[in-house]
Symmetry: C2
Subunit: 299 residues, 2 copies
């Protein structure tokens, strides 16, 4: 059995515990979180070891870092330092991701550990599809259309505007990789909607997209974990154009993220020390069981 620690117990952490429990070859070593008073634990953690420090969980093969993206690099360094593999869903693309990979990769090699980074769905499994369609048609344009679904980053940005009590920003696909933002705000007593609307529209998170702001009485009543993507490419294979590819999903967002991270934890135990994105790991490594049986069933 591969022993897994879940670090952080927010939205993704909860689903990560479920994904580990559902996997026949994984064992939940425990949950690492700040608040550990037994009478304050949610019912589903009653039979789970909950600690403040991962070293109190005994042998841990891989830690799922279910903490906010901005905390991931430091937390990964700390755990890889102990020689424990880490998996995260670090969700910044581009230079930030490459820099994080370089830093945690150096530490992982030094400590003989493996760090699988950005193992969610975008970056993550969508990245696998983006690479696959380029293998199939090296020239062309890929459009990634997100949603409809809640954007955590945009919701936080809207919530930070003074006078906003709670906010929810929906990402609405507008086609060809463009998106519309629909921002729902619940106001503090006495706050002026028109002013808040203007401030949100000017925010760098929103001012590049078509944005609509709506006042509502209760954000809680609007919340849902559903999300999705439509990834499209028309491209050229060799010298033949009009090759058409489409990847679409409608999913519970934290449940999918947690599941991908859990499979990546299994894969981490099969890699040489270092840092890996999902593009750098053979797909078969995410599975347990006899390779020939898997090939017979999947290939």
């Amino acid at each position: 059995m591969i022993r897994i620690a879940v670090v952080g117990y927010g939205n993704i952490g909860k689903y990560a515990v479920q994904a580990v429990e559902a996997a026949p070859d994984l064992e939940l070593a425990g949950v690492v979180r700040r608040q550990v008073k037994e009478d304050e634990l949610p019912p589903e953690l009653q039979n789970v070891k909950v600690v403040e420090d991962i070293t109190k969980l005994g042998q841990v093969d891989a830690a799922l870092l279910c903490v906010p993206t901005r905390s991931v690099p430091a937390k990964a360094q700390e755990i890889v330092e102990l020689g424990i593999n880490t998996v995260d869903s670090f969700d910044l693309h581009g230079e930030s991701l490459v820099q994080y990979r370089r830093e945690i990769g150096a530490k992982a090699k030094e400590r003989g550990a493996v760090s699988v980074i950005s193992a969610g769905w975008d970056p993550g499994t969508d990245s696998v599809v983006r690479a696959l369609v380029e293998v199939m048609a090296p020239r062309g344009i890929t459009f990634t259309n997100f949603g409809p679904g809640m954007s955590m980053g945009h919701s936080v940005a809207a919530k930070a505007v003074p006078g906003v009590k709670d906010a929810l920003s929906m990402t609405i696909p507008a086609g060809s990789g463009r998106h519309r933002r629909q921002v729902y705000v619940e106001l503090e007593q006495g706050a002026e909607f028109e002013q808040i609307r203007e401030q949100i529209m000017l925010d760098p998170y929103f001012n590049k997209d078509e944005t609509f702001v709506y006042q509502v009485n209760s954000i809680k009543d609007l919340q849902d974990v559903g999300h999705g993507v439509l990834l499209e490419r028309v491209g050229t294979s060799g010298k033949t154009g009009n090759q058409q590819f489409k990847w679409e999903m409608r999913i519970n967002n934290p449940a999918l993220t947690a599941q991908v991270m859990t499979a990546a934890a299994r894969a981490s135990t099969k890699q040489e020390p270092g840092a890996y994105t999902l593009l750098e790991i053979p797909l078969l490594d995410y599975f347990s069981g006899d390779p020939e049986e898997l090939i017979k069933r999947l290939v």
Copy 2:
């Protein structure tokens, strides 16, 4: 530059030459085929080295085996024996594939070569998607719906019926992984359509699917290289159901197959000796260029 030989010059071989020519990091060492009289060469091969024996092409890093599936295992053994990597689109699934992988894997390890097998689209890139959706939702059912498009195997089976001059079998998706066969036949002088229809319906290639047989004057007028797939899965991530995934493509069939094989040839140069399906190779290995730049762009 990676030097590539194209072995066989049928439908896929033609597109393979184009895919190699279109790749900036690959060089066409030449084409291996039986008929090499210079005045009988098609115009596009005028400036290509065409030989009967691969050893006459000088240094070859990888050979694309563009020969019928039943000839692939023997041809692969012959070329791997020379220490040259091979790539094929061997298209039998299940036990035949696993057995071929085992045999060519042993030879490849012995000769220090790499053999990438079943590197088309199904088996091939569809297999990558089938594995990916299982990583994302380990419990559930995946349906692979093919077509509409011509099935080579079924066309050959219909053509083998006495009295059939030429035949074309279309695979029509009937949903949930079931397919309908529409078989078009051009008859020999004096052949009886009703008898031929019955014989086709009883053939093991056709008797498990809903099959319709039509008599036509000219098969040539119906031929097209278009094909497609719709792969669907609804499954459970952790303990959360109703996770929905869909992969769809509409493509020129031999052009896509040749492109995937060409990318696999590049990847073959980065693997340890042995045999690999696409599930056993990290996606990044199919690309040329700086890994960090690729990760920045694709992840």
